[in-house]
């Protein structure tokens, strides 16, 4: 089941690996999925190849073996550390057992994982991440240790993690939509952004749904053409002579086209439907960041409240010349520092988000533009092949009629 595909790596700069010294370069390839383990414990491992000229890295090239849960670990670490930045989304963990190891599913996942890492590699902040370096370089045992050492929620198994992430998703909606306590920042632009994000997700999800159905329809049509071709050939066998031949050739063409349709179905899935799905995930990632922002804002507000209370208390104590003043003063100063830190963090998130939004829109226009191009190209090619195949039959059919 080893599929060796080299994906195009999107590096931050457009420099090719042939001139490593000039520009900083980090290119990653996810390839070679292999099924390991047995029964319920079975999983897929991927080969991750890193080519870079970053000084922080151990060398110009490194190959490691990683599994899906390792990617989840990386995503979660980045999410924790880089609040305000839209962390590139991961493909979902598939619940359906049977589908989990279908070659198509594996290919879809491999492609998504590759895109995930390269998006990180092309983000000016994220690419500096130490966790990324860990992920790309350490051996498997160390990786496993790192994974299981995670405190708090990260101690859980990947499946649970997904569930928690889903919980966070729904909690995010509540928080962001302001269903929780009304500690809500509300600037008209941010409101607009929130509204936009939520509605965008709905629209995209619908489009993706239809795209997926379209893939299925291609497959069904392919199957129909195959069956039809076969039946027509059998019918031709009954007829005999030139008419029979005409039938038989038509049947063969139909079968040929069936194959082309299956090909286009796969192409549509990988190059059009998956990018759309990725778009949906990216929007969900934005929502997660929005939740973080809301939390940071809430934290800041709560701290501000507490500081104010402490201030009042301190003044009171100072007036009564209590001996607790010293203690209270220290507490107050600590709280103030915390408050400034919280404010700083919040403002960082706000600043980052506004940059990220611009980045996001640009990136998406590019990604979807490519996807559209692939859709149009694939459909045009398929339609031309169909036209050519049928057209080739016409002279023969004309000849048949002429002979009548």
């Amino acid at each position: 089941m080893a599929t060796i595909t080299t994906q195009r790596s999107l590096s931050g700069s457009s420099q090719s690996p042939r001139s490593p010294s000039a520009q900083p370069f980090l290119g990653i390839t996810v390839t070679d999925p292999v099924k390991l383990g047995n029964g319920v414990q079975a999983y897929i491992s991927y080969r991750v190849i890193t080519k870079t000229n970053f000084p922080e890295y151990q060398g110009p090239e490194k190959i490691v073996i990683r599994r899906y849960s390792d990617f989840v670990w990386l995503r979660d670490r980045l999410f924790e550390k880089y609040k305000g930045i839209f962390i590139p989304p991961l493909p979902e963990k598939s619940a359906v057992e049977k589908f989990r190891f279908s070659s198509e599913f594996i290919e879809m996942r491999r492609q998504a994982l590759d895109i995930f890492l390269n998006r990180i590699a092309s983000h000016p902040e994220l690419r500096q991440s130490e966790d990324l370096r860990t992920f790309l370089q350490v051996d498997e045992e160390t990786m496993e240790r790192a994974r299981s050492q995670e405190t708090g929620i990260f101690k859980k198994k990947p499946a649970d993690l997904m569930q928690i992430f889903k919980d966070v998703q729904s909690k995010v909606s509540d928080v962001v939509l302001g269903k929780e306590k009304p500690l809500e920042e509300s600037s008209p632009e941010y409101e607009k952004l929130k509204h936009y994000t939520f509605e965008l997700e709905d629209h995209l999800a619908e489009a993706q749904k239809h795209a997926f159905r379209l893939v299925k329809r291609h497959r069904e049509l392919g199957q129909s053409l195959a069956d039809f071709g076969k039946a027509i050939k059998l019918l031709g066998a009954c007829e005999g002579n030139s008419l029979g031949k005409a039938f038989s050739e038509l049947g063969s063409k139909s079968e040929t086209l069936s194959i082309k349709l299956q090909k286009e179905a796969h192409h549509l899935l990988m190059k059009f439907e998956e990018p759309l799905k990725d778009y949906v995930r990216a929007v969900q990632s934005i929502k997660a960041t929005m939740a973080e922002r809301a939390n940071a804002f809430k934290h800041q507000c709560e701290l501000a409240e507490t500081i104010k209370l402490k201030e009042i208390n301190l003044d009171k104590l100072m007036l009564t010349r209590s001996d607790k003043v010293g203690e209270a003063e220290i507490e107050y100063r600590e709280l103030k520092a915390e408050g400034e830190e919280a404010t700083r963090r919040f403002e960082t998130i706000v600043r980052l988000m506004s940059e990220e939004i611009v980045r996001f829109q640009e990136q998406k226009t590019l990604d979807i533009g490519i996807a559209f191009h692939e859709l149009a190209k694939g459909q045009a090619q398929m339609a031309n092949e169909i036209a050519d195949a049928w057209r080739s039959l016409i002279p023969k059919l004309e000849a048949c009629s002429a002979r009548t």
């Binding site: 379209l214 039946a231 039938f247 590019l366 559209f372 859709l375 149009a376 009548t404």
Partner: protein
């Protein structure tokens, strides 16, 4: 359809078989039976038909009083060059569907004979110029609910629907060019039954089903409309059958006002009852226990003569299970081969028809989903445009709009293409229906053969009885009066039976000949119709695939900038 496939319709063949038919009819002794009276009356009409197929056409093509004729012929002229030059950029529109290669399909043209367009026009398709310029169009419309006037046990009476049947023709048999009658479905059943009696051995288009269940379950309007369409198709097919279109039964059905002047079919129960009444008399020798010659030309099964039914049943059992070969068997190897081939064909037709249905559905689905995708993108585009803050959003919205428009256009093309694919591939389905007619014609043949066999067996047993009696009587000196009388009676019976046998043999041969001619016609027309179907299907697919390719190629061009950007 088998109907008017006149691509190179061999008129001479038809003429020959008609003549044969006429001569057979005239041969028949006409006695009191109303049935044969009717038949001979009919034959007198047919005899007057002496139009030789190769003589100048009855009506000139230029005659276009009928508005239906003038504009279509223009269209066809206009369109033809396109098709002949193999320009596929202009995919067949609905107009082309009617006038393109396969237009023998009655579904489109409602019984219009194709030669009307051929004669005098540049033949793109090789149709014989000698085909006559007959025109015979039937339409069914205007269903009206009516009350059963008499014999209603239910207060408020039974209701039924009548349909307006309008015929436009230039066939001389009708002596008129346009006329209408009102008929109900029962009348159609009568027509169909009478035709199958008169045209044994022919591939008679099967009539629409009675659909008793559906008539109760479906919505009245829907059911009536469904039936109207089916009736129109059926009558048009009859009108397209080279022999049946000239039948008297069809003519009176289409033309005679008021009650349909054809004998109705008595139901099975009544027939059996009549037969049961007769039977004891037959067995005790009071009424004729022999089949009269004129009865012999109809199968035993549909009649009242139970004794005959039993005899033939006994014969068929003897054929199947008896040790000896029956006196006459189906020997025509060619026929048997053909029959087997047709069975094979029927099976493959059924399969192909099913797969064609699936194909059509799959094409419909893909078109639908494409359309839905397009709409989803249109909504997205609108949304992005309204909410746009960055320029990149606007660019994306513009791209999306292009894709959405293309998807919607492509969806429409799929739908249009499919609407026509359905019509082409429907040919498979039509021929499948025709197989019923073939079965029926073949069973006419085998039941006629059975009648012959039965009569021969009877003759042989009668002869041996006579022999025995003669031997016995010769032993008695001076003669045995009772035995002699019996011998006389037997000899009489033998003579009648001999006559019946001759009739039966003639009928059998006649049916065989009809079978043979119809088989040839089937082969010929099937070839043309199938070729037409394939061509039409292929041309349609090409045309629409090109259009769809074009739509997407434009979008690919417009979005080609993205690929350069990312490489």
């Amino acid at each position: 359809m088998m109907g008017s496939g006149n691509q190179d319709f061999d008129e001479a063949q038809l003429f020959a078989s008609r003549e044969e038919m006429e001569s057979l009819i005239l041969d028949e002794p006409s006695n009191g039976k109303s049935f044969s009276d009717y038949r001979s009356a009919m034959s007198s009409v047919s005899v007057s038909e002496t139009h030789h197929p190769l003589s100048p056409p009855i009506v000139g093509i230029g005659d276009s009083d009928d508005p239906l004729l003038s504009s279509p012929s223009y269209n066809r002229d206009h369109r033809n060059p396109n098709i002949s030059e193999n320009s596929y950029l202009e995919p067949p529109s609905y107009a082309d569907v009617i006038f393109s290669p396969f237009s023998d399909k009655n579904g489109e043209v409602n019984g219009v004979e194709n030669p009307i367009y051929d004669s005098g026009k540049s033949g793109v398709l090789s149709r014989s110029a000698s085909s006559n310029s007959e025109y015979f169009k039937i339409s069914v419309s205007n269903p009206v609910k009516e009350q059963e006037t008499s014999n209603s046990l239910v207060p408020g009476g039974n209701t039924y629907y009548t349909y307006l049947i309008t015929t436009r023709t230039n066939m001389p048999e009708f002596g008129g060019s346009e006329f209408s009658v009102r008929r109900r479905f029962k009348d159609v059943v009568t027509l169909s039954d009478r035709l199958s009696e008169s045209y044994r051995g022919f591939f008679i288009p099967p009539r629409p089903d009675k659909n008793v269940v559906e008539s109760q379950v479906m919505q009245k309007q829907e059911f009536v409309e469904q039936r109207r369409v089916a009736l129109e198709k059926y009558l048009s097919r009859l009108a397209a059958h080279p022999v049946i279109k000239k039948s008297e039964e069809l003519r009176v059905f289409l033309q005679v006002q008021g009650k349909l002047p054809l004998p109705t079919t008595t139901d099975v129960a009544s027939r059996m009852l009549d037969g049961a009444v007769k039977l004891p008399k037959q067995l005790f020798g009071e009424s004729a226990s022999v089949v009269a010659p004129h009865e012999v030309v109809q199968p035993a099964k549909g009649g009242r003569d139970l004794l005959r039914i039993f005899k033939e049943l006994k014969q068929s059992v003897a054929n199947d299970w008896g040790g000896t070969k029956p006196p006459v068997v189906e020997e025509d190897k060619e026929f048997l081969e053909k029959k087997e081939k047709l069975q094979d064909l029927e099976q493959q037709l059924s399969n192909a028809s099913q797969q064609a249905e699936s194909l059509v559905k799959a094409q419909q689905d893909i078109g639908e989903t494409m359309g839905e995708l397009g709409l989803a993108f249109i909504k997205l585009t609108k949304f992005e445009t309204e909410e746009a803050v960055n320029n990149s959003q606007r660019i994306r919205a513009a791209d999306m709009k292009r894709v959405a428009t293309a998807a919607v256009k492509a969806s429409r093309f799929y739908r249009e293409s499919n609407a026509q694919t359905v019509k082409y591939l429907d040919t498979l389905h039509e021929y499948l229906g025709l197989m019923l007619a073939v079965h029926s014609a073949f069973s006419d043949r085998s039941s006629a053969l059975l009648t012959v066999q039965t009569l021969l067996s009877e003759l042989s047993s009668l002869h041996s009885r006579a022999e025995k009696l003669e031997t016995a009587s010769s032993k008695i000196f001076g003669g045995d009066r009772s035995r002699i009388r019996k011998i006389e009676e037997l000899k009489e019976t033998i003579k009648v039976t001999e006559d019946a046998k001759s009739c039966a043999v003639r009928e059998y041969e006649r049916i065989k000949e009809n079978n043979r001619n119809e088989l040839e016609r089937l082969d010929r027309e099937r070839r043309n119709d199938f070729l037409g179907m394939l061509k039409g299907f292929v041309i349609n697919q090409v045309g629409y695939a090109e259009k769809i390719a074009n739509v997407w190629a434009n979008v690919a061009e417009e979005t080609s900038g993205y690929t350069k950007e990312s490489s």
